[in-house]
């Protein structure tokens, strides 16, 4: 076994992890304005404007239509696919009054009670979800 020789090999391995999007440059570029929009919700005055008219607020940002729709739908898996990063997106769900557990559970296909029960029982086991190719 040899390690990655350059950034291509290094990054290539990330696609082999099930149900996980690593926030690489490619994602950071795709999601640039999406994440900057989310970041803007750290300011109380922006949160007020956003809550008053979400669509109008989104239209101030050079985001794709897909990104805007996914934000309005709070479809976090889709937002990850479109370049969102969870720490940036957290400003959106915090503004909604959701906790990390509530928001994160929406990405897993479980409801929040099932998700909480899994966490209380020790969390999701890494068994079988470490690698797609080698399924271990």
């Amino acid at each position: 076994m040899t390690g990655p020789k350059d950034i291509h090999e290094y990054l290539g391995a990330f696609d082999d992890i099930p149900g996980t999007r690593v926030y690489t440059a490619a994602r950071a570029r795709q999601g640039y304005h999406l994440n900057q929009f989310a970041m803007s919700l750290m300011k109380a005055e922006n949160r007020a404007r956003w809550l008053a008219d979400e669509r109008a607020y989104l239209d101030e940002w050079p985001m794709s239509q897909e990104q805007k729709d996914a934000v309005l739908a709070r479809d976090y898996n889709r937002l990850l696919d479109l370049g969102g990063n969870i720490y940036f997106l957290s400003k959106v769900f915090s503004t909604d009054g959701l906790s990390f557990v509530q928001a994160v559970s929406t990405m897993t296909g479980m409801n929040v009670d099932e998700y909480k029960a899994m966490m209380d029982a020790g969390g999701r086991s890494p068994k079988g979800v470490r690698s797609i190719k080698e399924s271990y």
Partner: protein
């Protein structure tokens, strides 16, 4: 002469701040977590253990830094830092007082030592920095130690390698040792342990791996410094990578450490809580291979 007297590692889950700030820290859910810090709170209150300055290694979670600027290693040289508004108003905790004199000394030493530091004079600090203060000190009127924030990029890939983090710790130790004033300095590494906050695999916890990592912090092994990023990702979830920040603390403690206290609990929100208090047994770090002008070739060329 300033001395590194201890290293502390701790998770920094934002929910712990919420629990402490709303008086829920001893309810059924949170008590098993906070109880694991009781030992440390008592220990750190004793005059012989109390640090004058904490070098607090943490990561900013899209609070002080947005996508416009992403420093790999940023050291706070300012007078003070306010808690950040992370989307639900700033935490009602004391401002964090800096130690500009020691911070600048370390920053300058690290650049001479060929670490490409970003110097920060003004920023707000988020839960990554304030939650560990709460865990160690509770809710005092003012934080009992001055703090030098050391922010590490672990959000946009690639973060620094484990080896680079460990080496940064070693360089911090050299810098602290060359500071004239007699100060007790702690280095804290925060974040982790296993957690994944995104995607269908969210909620991943790997208690076995986490405990292997806790084991690796103790003694004279340096195995942890060579773990590649992909292993953190596969084994500990996408946010487990925060543990590279613990290696800066570990590197700063030198050749050999002893564990004074250890605590592990699952879950807190989506995360495995890990906490360890370490003391240097042999604080020796390698000499700088790189200090400006401090080598034969440099001198021969002059």
């Amino acid at each position: 002469m300033a001395r590194i007297t201890a290293g502390i590692a701790s998770s920094h889950v934002p929910l712990l701040g919420v629990a402490a700030d709303t008086g829920k820290d001893r309810d059924a859910y949170f008590d098993p977590i906070f109880a694991g810090y009781d030992w440390t709170r008592e220990w750190i209150a004793k005059p012989e253990n109390k640090p004058d300055v904490v070098i607090l290694v943490y990561n900013d979670h899209a609070s002080a830094f947005d996508m416009k600027i992403i420093p790999t290693f940023a050291i706070g040289c300012g007078e003070r830092y306010k808690p950040a508004d992370e989307g639900w108003g700033p935490r009602q905790v004391p401002d964090v007082e800096g130690h500009p004199d020691l911070a600048w000394h370390i920053a300058q030493s690290l650049v001479l030592d060929e670490f490409d530091m970003t110097i920060i004079n003004e920023m707000d600090v988020d839960h990554g920095l304030t939650v560990p203060l709460t865990m160690m000190y509770g809710a005092p009127e003012a934080w009992p130690a001055k703090v030098i924030p050391l922010a590490v990029n672990v959000v946009t890939y690639p973060p620094p390698s484990g080896n680079r983090c460990w080496a940064l710790g070693e360089a911090i130790a050299r810098a602290v040792q060359s500071y004239g004033e007699d100060l007790k300095v702690h280095v804290w590494g925060t974040g982790g342990m296993s957690h994944q906050l995104q995607g269908q695999r969210a909620g991943l916890i790997n208690a076995e791996w986490d405990n292997m990592f806790l084991d690796g912090m103790v003694g004279d092994t340096q195995a942890l410094r060579f773990i590649p990023h992909i292993e953190y990702l596969r084994e500990t979830g996408s946010e487990g990578i925060e543990m590279v920040m613990w290696l800066i603390m570990r590197g700063a403690l030198g050749r050999e450490t002893k564990a004074l206290h250890r605590h592990y609990h699952v879950p807190c929100s989506n995360t495995a809580i890990g906490h360890i208090v370490l003391e240097p047994v042999d604080g020796t770090v390698p000499p700088s291979p790189t200090l400006e002008g401090n080598n034969g070739a440099a001198q021969a060329a002059i």
